[in-house]
Symmetry: C2
Amino acid sequence: MTIRITRLDTTQPDFDSALMQILVFEASEDESIDRVAADIIADVRKRGDAAVLEYTNRFDRLTETAMASLEIPVESCLAALNNLPPASRAALQVAADRVRVYHEHQREACGGSGYTYTDEHGSLLGQKITPLDKVGIYVPGGKAAYPSSVLMNAIPAQVAGVPEIIMVVPTPDGIRNELVMAAAGLSGVNRIFAIGGAQAVAALAYGTETIPAVDKIVGPGNAFVAAAKRRVFGQVGIDMIAGPSEILVLCDGTTNPDWIAMDLFSQAEHDELAQSILVCPDTAYLDQVEASIARLLPQMRRQEIIRTSLTNRGALIKAKNMEEVCAIANRIAPEHLEVSTENPERWLDLLRHAGAIFLGRFTSEALGDYCAGPNHVLPTSRTARFSSPLGVYDFQKRSSIIRVSEEGAQILGKTALELAEGEGLEAHAKSAAYRMKKD
Amino acid sequence: MTIRITRLDTTQPDFDSALMQILVFEASEDESIDRVAADIIADVRKRGDAAVLEYTNRFDRLTETAMASLEIPVESCLAALNNLPPASRAALQVAADRVRVYHEHQREACGGSGYTYTDEHGSLLGQKITPLDKVGIYVPGGKAAYPSSVLMNAIPAQVAGVPEIIMVVPTPDGIRNELVMAAAGLSGVNRIFAIGGAQAVAALAYGTETIPAVDKIVGPGNAFVAAAKRRVFGQVGIDMIAGPSEILVLCDGTTNPDWIAMDLFSQAEHDELAQSILVCPDTAYLDQVEASIARLLPQMRRQEIIRTSLTNRGALIKAKNMEEVCAIANRIAPEHLEVSTENPERWLDLLRHAGAIFLGRFTSEALGDYCAGPNHVLPTSRTARFSSPLGVYDFQKRSSIIRVSEEGAQILGKTALELAEGEGLEAHAKSAAYRMKKD
């Protein structure tokens, strides 16, 4: 029942390959899963409601005879909200309010409803930013059904101004999670269907008699859901395909080691594939955290999951100094990055890739997961190198605005003519030339 | 040699289905193309340079013996730029300058390098916006090699601050397009390789001995390139997978019909699958445009392509009034939307879905394609419902910033504790509780 966590030192000769070995996680691209998802999508496109109903009855062990009975009325979500114990309800409300305020700030800071400027010839240029018309939110059922995820997916869509938010959530054996329903009631979801899997993704992407076709599908799911999302990409927009959750803690050795141990646990408890890594320039401190882990682990209810996760995918890494600690963070590009140091802002400029950066020892990742305000849907598996937290911008799209003045058409026309001829596109050239005064 | 374009009227009983029939375009998801792309990717991952070299020699009919000889030195692009005829060079420079200014405006209007705010407990919240480290730009070779596309892909990346921009462009039979090389020289591309196809996408996604692995791949390509991009999505970021180009012209019947005919040609001349549609409330005006088309078409060098495109995929649509015209535009969600009317701004609020909106009769789409400033890489095939023009934001990613104050940790801790317990995540709860003062 002891625990053995990988210890690495940046000075060991095989450090690079040892680190890579711990980081590597290749989503199993199972051809058979992809095949099943493709078949289900084709069937739902062909047979609509009948197909969705059939798959739902089969996979979720239900006996419904009409799609209508799989719609969960919004009123019942509001009832679920009203029936919560007061403390739960208050906590959900605080979280929802803070998430809303944060995303309202984000909307305004990232272009609002658009921008324009006028150039030296009086031509108007810019972009118009508008919400998507319809969005689908996939919420997993069963043990990974988290009310906080409903808030984090639905509220940014609502803040963006999406007029129709449609949630799907499988209800295996007909069991509905009351907290999830309450969260839906609180966050402006417009319609809810008790369906899941590739069939739910297909229904949202192409529409059926009962389920409206949406413009984008967001939210995590199992391998079939991920395969289906990849397949419908293009027909609709999708968010990133999420891998296991990760935390990287950077520490200067001045935080209570129990706190850091518990932060590592908080990621590891999600599932066996989750990854928790600590990097620190102080060997003695790493020993202290290792001791805290050993002491605290037996008290945890989810100790088996935590043990497996830390043993297989965790690591305690000794670096030369804080600069090297930051360089390792950029290589890992983690989903969650805790900077548990004195004056954490000092290191911020050195940190380039991370889904979310938690600064200072009071900023435990758990606060960000629930109620600090920022979104907890974050890029995993090193995708923070090129992707971003879920945000209002995921529920908006932009249209360029161009209004060329008569004067501008004369001047731009010459350039367009020249370039169009260079590319052999005569109609482009003539279309510009028609707007130029003959002289 | 006459031309027959579909005429529709919104009052005809089968209008909806007739419109859908014209719009429908399903990218051929050819399983065999996907299979070939998957095999090439696996081979490049396994054998690196050797595989890339082999495929390049085979597909582009070359006889190179080392990857190094497929690298095109940036100096030779600068030489190509210097060797251009002065008028070409000046036009390319004007276009590059205007595209740069536009995207600089965009960068500042869309969040700059980030934003933060402080909440009522002194906690800091916001986002940090940073450029991607490395970006790959795919530029098609052969007849569809457009220097303007090099500018439109590379300049936003450069404005975003991407330190390493790597361009790939196939050179079938070893032929290099001097205008494309010059455009690369002008727009801050750092390295260029004369490779293409799925092998180029694989090399950029996974890296080889010679070709650096990038974080995102953008740019259009053939069916193999599209299949490869879809496959590497997740390993790297990708832009949208582009379909045939489209223009929708909304007209109140007051623009010179020859101008509108030429605007429709300018899209149709791209290729046989391109789509040009005009919607207008005035039947007599539609007749005039049809007459202009018939008269002007025989003068066009690319008349065969234009005729095929207009015959198979074009349409002239009579609507009841301008409000209905705008409603049709939203259903079509076109890549390019020309609003060729008096007071075009009047209709802007009604237009929700379009890649770019060209306002007023002097704003021919061709000006936007080359030098107005906005990006010409735009969402096609109705994806403007959920996606946006290529922009600076495609070459940036965001990291949430959270710095919870000691006071904030007490207050947020209570909410996090309650929600974490509701979700059965004990370590999350304890990690929040550790930061709370015991009282």
